[in-house]
Symmetry: C2
Subunit: 416 residues, 2 copies
């Protein structure tokens, strides 16, 4: 693009992210960008800007050829899908922060860019202000990766920090996260692990060259976390973090999973507290690298969107090198086993999941908890049942690559 003139941005949505971007551009007057038009939904809402900025008709922005690029920052993934695909069909340059949109439609979004010559960037969709897609895309593009795992949801991490550091009850902590603006409109996305799953799908495409359908990924959250589970974590000198992880097995298969996990004080992710996000990229040669930063909030997310805006104006686009270079799309390692703690009031679940090496943990009479090993395949297949039963499931170690049951660890894991 011509860099000697002010580039005009069409913005969809004026919530936390949209306002964050607007605010940064207002302050950084040397940046050659100007928000020209903002498409919002609710005409009755009072807004901090003059009305001529706003329109309620997406077509008005999509059709406006004076606009150099579009930024999509609305929370509804279905509406975002309509807008982004329509824009890509016109060959536009689009920046989005919508992880659900990208996770569910990446193959189509790639095909549309190819067919119509548009470009889509979405750094803000994963881990807020942390440049993790860019790092994996550019810096680790040619190094085989062993594992990418992290804390990808600021809201649930904030809740867990409040529970473990401040001894606050779950619902009070959730309310706080919502009041502070860390939570999604639908908090279930945060606390049940679905939002983390979306982000994990995106990371997997860039890091391991496979576009996962979200349905392929088992996800579990902290929404059923109870006192019994907190006691178990404390007994094991651990806290609990909601970890999204994908690693490649020695056979070249992938293990993608979102699962609460016991986390020791020595764990890299243990330092990721409050609304922060953290990602560990483990390269075959460079070793584990931790990226930690703000995963939510208007300014951090707005800064990530701005970084994409600048890159897209300089003709940058993702290379998807792992996706394009991968000769054989890696399969999922459905027989990979993990050691988990499972508490449920429906003991039939233990058999459904084919838990092996079971050890019963003394428990409240209305519920039962065991530790045992379970395969990834069974977690994927029966994840809805686990959720419906209101069961709480927890990895005994944040190292999901471990497959062997360590006798000593098992002994420790059992409450006496």
């Amino acid at each position: 693009m011509d860099s000697n003139r002010i580039l005009k941005i069409g913005l969809f949505g004026f919530g936390c992210v949209g306002q964050g971007l607007y605010d940064i551009l207002e302050r950084e007057t040397q940046l050659p960008f100007q928000i020209e038009k903002i498409c919002v939904k609710d005409p009755t809402k009072v807004r901090p800007l003059s009305p001529e900025y706003f329109t309620y008709d997406a077509e008005e922005v999509l059709q406006d050829d004076r606009l150099d690029l579009l930024v999509e920052a609305i929370s509804d993934a279905q509406e975002a899908y309509q807008i982004v695909t329509a824009a890509l069909r016109k060959g536009k340059r689009v920046v989005t922060a919508n992880k659900k949109l990208v996770a569910f439609h990446l193959p189509e979004l790639l095909a549309l860019q190819q067919e119509f010559g548009g470009v889509l960037l979405y750094e803000a969709a994963v881990a807020g202000g942390i440049p993790i897609i860019r790092a994996v895309e550019e810096y680790f593009a040619n190094e085989p990766l062993v594992r990418v795992h992290g804390i990808l949801n600021g809201s649930s991490n904030y809740i867990l920090s409040q529970i473990f550091q401040q001894q606050k009850p779950y619902h009070e902590a959730l309310k706080e996260a919502q009041d502070k603006g860390f939570a999604e409109l639908d908090p279930w996305l945060d606390v049940a692990g679905a939002d983390s799953r979306h982000k994990l799908c995106i990371l997997t495409a860039h890091a391991f060259g496979r576009t996962l359908a979200p349905e392929e990924v088992a996800f579990f959250g902290i929404d059923f976390l109870g006192q019994r589970d907190l006691d178990f974590a404390k007994h094991n000198n651990s806290s609990i973090k909601l970890i999204a992880s994908v690693h490649v097995t020695p056979e070249g298969e992938l293990v993608p999973l979102v699962l609460p996990s016991l986390v020791k004080a020595t764990d890299d992710l243990n330092v990721v507290e409050q609304e922060f996000n953290g990602v560990v990229v483990q390269g075959a040669y460079s070793g584990p690298q931790l990226f930690k930063g703000r995963g939510a909030g208007g300014h951090p997310t707005g800064a990530a969107v701005l970084s994409d805006v600048i890159s897209i104006s300089k003709d940058y686009q993702y290379g998807y090198r792992k996706l394009n270079q991968t000769l054989r799309i890696p399969a999922l390692a459905l027989d990979h086993t993990l050691e988990v703690y499972l508490r449920t009031s429906d003991p039939a679940l233990f058999d459904t999941l084919e838990l092996e090496h079971q050890q019963i943990i003394e428990c409240a009479p209305d519920a039962e908890a065991v530790v045992g090993t379970v395969t990834l395949g069974n977690l994927v297949q029966h994840q809805d049942k686990i959720r419906e039963a209101g069961a709480f499931i927890l990895a005994l170690s944040s190292d999901f690559t471990k497959t062997k049951v360590q006798k000593q660890e098992k002994a420790e894991a059992v409450l006496s």
Copy 2:
């Protein structure tokens, strides 16, 4: 470059980094690179490769027009300077891992690239395998940065970890760092803070748009760390880390400094242990971001060199946006004050440094220690005197941006 053929690399040096690169290229056979010729110094040394790879004449490699790019991985900065400048004069593409070379000659290296059309990349020169230059160059190029600070020397950090975690004596820990290959050929560079200073100069150019002459930066190390200082740290519930830091003051001036510092358990850098490096980039909008990874070793550093090799083959070059966009080169804030602990057997030093708000700490009879405030200017001006006196100086807080003396902290800082 033509990406359909194998690109030929001329390599200078076959130590830790050179062998790391060679090893990775041997294993990753899909990568279109081949080391064609290796220039080494010592003809008598037994090497793990067939002799026809090697030459002892740098000119032979520099003159060889079949080579697509050059990698400089020798430890002597003066020889590296001769090789890299000669190569840039021929308009070659060069990757270097030599931080001292880049720190001392960046303006000249930039001018040579401009004049002769060559390219120089040096990601491996700062923080080993962590893509920190790339992140600052690309991702934070347009966001004003507030501070960049970190642990940039793996050898001294390894030593400090051994001292604080394992209660090992300093010289035993230093020997171990050397045996493990983390240390520079001249360990003074590591432990006295000079190596960290070189890296800080490079980061400052990319992050704040000023090329610093290393002489402008005060640096202090851990080479005079004594039991008395360890006791002081423990009394303050802190460990000691060697921190390289540059921040911008509210007046827009820079404070670059390498200084051991008390580090609390809650500090972002407290989790950077052993030979790991860690860098915190604090953006005006994105907030603090921690990057932690291996700062030393053949494979991590080799992976960083490889990432540059691939980028340079795809015509990437640093944009130096902050350097080029900065209208007014920021001055150094020589009147910025820091609160320090200083132990020396030469009490005249307290007056030389014009230490203010002095509080004497009860001490061994042959030495005296105080806490007080000192200006950056006095640290720069008198740094040689402090080193010559064998004094140990320590920041009381890892937040070098603080200027006000906090009464309560001072009280805590004084041993009773």
